[in-house]
Amino acid sequence: MAANYDYDEAPATYDDANRQELGYDPNFVPDSVKSFVVHLYRHIREKNVYEIHQMYEISFQKLSDRLFKDTPWPSVDAVAHYVDNDQVFCLLYREMWFRHLYARLSPTLKQRIDSWDNYCSLFQVVLHRVVNMQLPNQWLWDMVDEFVYQFQSFCQYRAKMKNKTEQEIALLRQFDQAWNVYGVLNYLQAFVEKSNIIQILEQEKEGIEQFTATDGYDYSGGSNVLKVLGYFSMVGLLRVHCLLGDYQTGLKCLLSIDINQQGVYTSVIGSHITTIYHYGFASLMMRRYVKAIREFNKMLLYIYKTKQYHQKSPQYEQILKKNEQMYALLAICLSLCPQTKLVEETVNSQLREKYGEKMARMQRYDDEAFAIYDELFSYACPKFITPSAPSFEEPLVNYNQDAYRLQLKLFLYEVKQQQLLSGVRTFLKVYSTISLGKLANYMEVDEPTLRTILFSYKHKTHAVDSDGKIISNADVDFYIDDDMIHVVESKPVKRFGDYFLRQIVKLEGVINDMDRIRLE
């Protein structure tokens, strides 16, 4: 699909008119920009990954802040002759151009469509030609991340049909392939397949391949682009599936990445956070609360320790936003599935500070509680989309909230089903044994109803994991013998093994220190 450089190829007179309309000259190239593209082009040709990264992360930001605060960068046609009209560089430049546009300005429909065309051209090159480049992981991640983001943005935009102009509707009808959900998913899938990344990761475990050890970079003269795009596309697929509400498939797409270990996904902070955020959210919707709590806890601790190093980075705001959202999701998980030992001290104190009061109210399961669940879910959830093409029939409506409303409704439905469990938990904590009759009395229900509550408690606190096994999430558990309830206290498990290992290493350290002193 050829890139559509419509308004750039127009004759000079149109440009003049355009300039007046746009308020800036797309063909004016400041010296600093000329210098930027010339150097970036050279570094890419010479595969100087470090320099590329510096220019991409820092120089581009600096120039954007200084010269292009609220205007786009110069058009690609204006800079093309500085870089030998190199097709691939121009596609990469355009990719950055559009990303800057989306971040600082509001893209028009035409620009959205053009951006899609650019991605198609760029991806076709990577998928079907031998590309001899090494690009920094940050850039490759940003490409996938931005691709999915622009897709999400387009779906939201398209779903607001009510105030669309005639021109916009005509364009939407004409370019119905732009940001088509099949196209988006198939590109991501194509990257995963063509790069053979799943097999590479498998073989890495057996020691036949090297990928994670080199952070995905190719030190034998090849290119890292296809492999790393394939890798990040797995995270991209997880994200798209979450936007569609298909959590099971989303998690399946991530199977080849072991989130209990470091990997290429942790080499870029944005990728690390996006992976864990969506993994946690999908787990929450699949009722695997303990899994979600564990992952959110680890991620939040990591952000707490490392966010100072990202203060100057363009991703800083996003990092903070996702941080807050994950605290909200953690609050939800812990309210639905109380656990005592899973959350780190630091994270716990932050959580209490932000949501302590709200969590107490959520456990009451009254109307106010549901309002809080609603509030937190709405704040923290992904921006769900309706992937199908719009209806052009009158009356035109806005349906951009439909997908979100459905997910919220089903989530609150699940919360409501757990309403009575909180009451049972309180009583179970107080008694070691109690007859069904007595407990029914205290809870002001009849025995059959109490039985249904107890069944529900057991069912809701025993989740089915990805292997089909049953795992108990219950912090307080029980069993019934005829008509007698026996409460089971979950004892904190003393990890003797770990303790001994640590002490052995410590002692060895002390002895080594002592030896060193004697020698001196």
Binding site: V181, Y182, L185, N186, Q189, L244, G245, D246, Y247, Q248, T249, K252, M285, M286, R287, P387, S388, D402, R405, L406, Q407, K409, L410, E414, Q417, P448, R451, T452, I453, L454, F455, S456, K458, H459, K460, H462, V464, G468, I470, S472, D477, Y479, I480, D481, D482, D483, V488, V493, K494, R495, F496, G497, D498, L501, I504, V505, E508
Partner: protein, 233 residues
């Protein structure tokens, strides 16, 4: 429409191909008819594939004009039969709200609600009122009874006969027969309760017998020990 009865071998070939399609080429509108056939396949041969059904629901999401509510209803019934797995809600996440408002889906949602909240008596009553929905899928009754027994096994060490009867919707002589079968094959023990009828002792597991809970948390993986070999050696 008359469909030629496929030989068992042909049937096996069809499902193998569909599973492959879902794994290799899921984002493809052309496989929609295959997936729909596969749903009917699952119903008639009492098999189940969540991934294939989710794939179909996604395609319906992408092209709502091609959605068949009959197929969707069958998918939901199969998902219900997969309990305690959360498959039913996973499917609902992909079905538009206005479709969920239709009568047959409202009924299925109510049935799911009863099962999720342990209301077995209400479930069986409602299912009886809607036998056209549930009898359309063979194996439904047994699947739900299996789920009910699963929940009972999490909860009870010894369960009074009436409670069991209500949960699995079997009474009288049929229940006697059922209990005999379970005693012979699944390790159930039938006891005489103190004056109030039968007590059924369910098999021991870590959920109704906490002492059986494996202290797995304290096992140390070998890789951790290897780290201190230099010290020990």
């Amino acid at each position: 429409m008359v469909r030629e009865r496929e030989t068992p071998k042909q049937q096996q070939q069809v499902s193998y191909t569909v599973e492959q399609l879902v794994a290799v080429n899921p984002y493809n509108p052309d496989i929609l008819p295959d997936l729909e056939n596969y749903v009917n396949e699952q119903v008639s041969s009492q098999t189940y594939s969540l991934d294939a059904n989710l794939c179909l629901l996604r395609l319906y999401q992408f092209e709502p004009e091609r959605m068949s509510t009959q197929i969707v209803a069958r998918i939901l019934v199969k998902a219900l039969m997969a309990m305690p797995a959360p498959d039913f809600s996973l499917c609902l996440f992909l079905i538009p709200e206005r479709v969920q408002m239709e009568e047959q889906f409202k009924t299925l949602i109510v049935l799911s609600h009863y099962l999720e909240t342990g209301r077995f008596r209400q479930f069986w009553d409602e299912a009886a009122k809607n036998c056209h929905i549930v009898e359309a899928v063979p194996g439904f009754e047994q699947a739900i009874q299996t789920y009910a027994i699963h929940v009972l096994s999490l909860t009870y060490q010894k369960i009074p006969r009436p409670v069991l009867a209500e949960a699995i919707n079997i009474e009288g002589l049929s229940l006697d027969k059922f209990l005999e079968h379970q005693a012979a094959n699944s390790g159930w023990i039938l006891e005489k309760g103190h004056g109030r009828g039968q007590l059924i002792v369910l098999p021991r597991n870590e959920f109704n017998h906490p002492e059986l809970k494996k202290i797995a948390a304290d096992s140390v993986p070998l890789e951790h020990i290897t780290r201190i070999f230099p010290i020990l050696g």
